[in-house]
Structure formats: structure tokens, C-alpha cells
Symmetry: C2
Subunit: 165 residues, 2 copies
């Protein structure tokens, strides 16, 4: 593929994004961690569970929520379990499956963390942007996510073909 270099406009956008991404992520993570003892990853899991009916979710469903690799999820849930944030239970309808449930401590931890997280998101992102910028960010994300999803679909199609061959 003959790849032309980025134009100044493109380079500015990419460069800005790259720097913002790194610093913003580390700032949000650091702050949440310092204030609540929960990492970004913890928070993602916990809030997915909190939103689920009965504060419990099948491993697979959880994986769809947070979009992690299965081994990452497994490792992390293991650690969270030893920290008492979550418990693992057997799955009734598929005995190789697992169901994870929020403990009371886990529920308290997320609830305590939520304000902090929202406040930080406001401070470092949302409150800084105009409505037009908010919408632009949403539409940019949509475009990128659609492209990434297409790739996923492509991968699945290739797997399909391999199966057929």
C-alpha cells in the first residue's frame, strides 16, 4: 500500500490525540486509584456488574461489556476475588461457565468511586468541551468503532472461510 505521509492537518489531529490519550488515561487512572483504591480496570468490571440485574453477570456477558480478552478478564477477576470485591459461582445452564457476583464490599467500593470518576471525567474532559465538540467526539468515536467492528467482522468471515475450506 503506497502510504502517503500525514498532511499537517492530519498530523496535528493524530499528534494531539496521541498525547491527550496517554496523559488523560494516566491522569484518570491515577486519580481514581489514589482516591478510591480502585484501578480503571476494577472500575470497569465493578460498574458493569453493578448495572446488571442481581449484580451478577456471566463471564461471557461481562466480556462483551468491557471488551477484554478472555484471559485478561479471568486473571483480573481472580485478583478481584482475592480482594473480596467479587465472588465466582457455578453456572447452572452451562456447567463450564462461570457467574460473577458483586460482594457487598464490591458494591460499596463502586458506589463510593462513581462520584469521583464522574467528577474527574468532567474536570478533564466533558466540562472542557462545547456541545459541538461533545457531538464531534461522539461522531468520531462512532466512525472509528465502526471501522474496528468491520475488521472484527472480517476476521470472523475469514474464520468462516477457513472452516469452509
Amino acid at each position: 500500500m503506497g502510504t502517503l505521509p500525514l498532511s499537517p492537518r492530519e498530523a496535528r489531529a493524530w499528534d494531539g490525540y496521541r498525547r491527550m490519550q496517554g496523559l488523560l488515561a494516566s491522569q484518570l487512572n491515577r486519580q481514581l486509584m489514589a482516591d478510591t483504591g480502585l484501578s480503571d480496570a476494577d472500575y470497569a468490571i465493578l460498574s458493569a456488574l453493578l448495572a446488571a440485574p442481581g449484580h451478577r453477570l456471566r463471564g461471557l456477558a461481562l466480556r462483551c461489556e468491557v471488551q477484554w480478552e478472555k484471559s485478561r478478564l479471568s486473571h483480573h477477576l481472580g485478583r478481584m476475588q482475592t480482594r473480596g470485591l467479587v465472588v465466582r459461582e457455578e453456572c447452572v445452564e452451562d456447567s463450564r461457565g462461570a457467574v460473577f457476583q458483586l460482594t457487598d464490599a464490591g458494591r460499596e467500593a463502586v458506589e463510593a468511586a462513581t462520584d469521583d470518576r464522574v467528577a474527574a471525567v468532567r474536570t478533564y474532559l466533558v466540562d472542557l468541551l462545547t456541545p459541538a465538540q461533545l457531538d464531534a467526539l461522539a461522531s468520531i468515536s462512532d466512525a472509528v468503532l465502526a471501522r474496528l467492528a468491520k475488521d472484527d467482522a472480517h476476521l470472523r468471515a475469514v474464520a468462516e472461510l477457513a472452516r469452509g475450506a
Copy 2:
């Protein structure tokens, strides 16, 4: 701080950004890694060195370029050194300092990786966006980065005060 929850518009922007960020970063990293054996982090270091006069940079300067914590930089440079991508030399004007220089292998590796990186950035971000969206992304980044810098300045000021007290 009485933190009101995010409005639907704000939530959409934040949620989109969050998802895009995670998947985009992992896709870019994965692809670069698979195609060139270089991680995102490697590439950041190597391209900073490549751009520097003489392909060499003081540790401190490198840290400013990539905005990493010093221990991260030190560890990573150590590993890159054992991989033969980089060499560490003594620093003349400050003998506690260190200077890092790209090896030939390192130079070849970055140069080989550059096309791949640019192509991926096009595929998954830049080429998907309209000029208006590119500009919006740049201005959003500027706003966020300015806010983060302000915090940094604040931290420095606090340190200053502590020094004075």
C-alpha cells in the same frame, strides 16, 4: 464537590471516547507488533531518537519527548538495549546523566515500522474523518492537554510553596 451526572450528550461522548480509546490503542499496538516486532512504546522511543540530531538524546530530553515517568523510561531503555536497538553512553556535561543513541539495527527497525504505523493510523483514524472532524479532534486535544498542563503547573506551584514554608 456536588457532581451532577453526565447528560445524555455528555455520556454519549464519554462512552464513545472510552470505547474507541481502548480498542484503537490495542489495535494499533497489536498491528505494529505483529508486523514489525516493535511495540507502541518502542516506536515512541525510537522515533524520538530518529528525529534527534545524531540519533542521540539525553535521557531527560527523551523523557520530555515521550512524557513518561523516569523509571518507566529507564526500564524500557534497559530492555531495548539488550535487544540491541539502542546504546547507552556517558554524558559529558553532567556525569550523572545518560545519553542514548540509536543503533543501526534500531534505525532500520524504526524506518521499517514507520510506513506501517502511518498506514494503520490512516486506516483506523485519520482516513475515517472529515477535515472538520480532524480539526475538532485537534481542538479537543488542545483543550484537554491545556487542562492537564494546568494541573501540572499547579502541582509545581504547590511544591514551590512547600519549599517556601
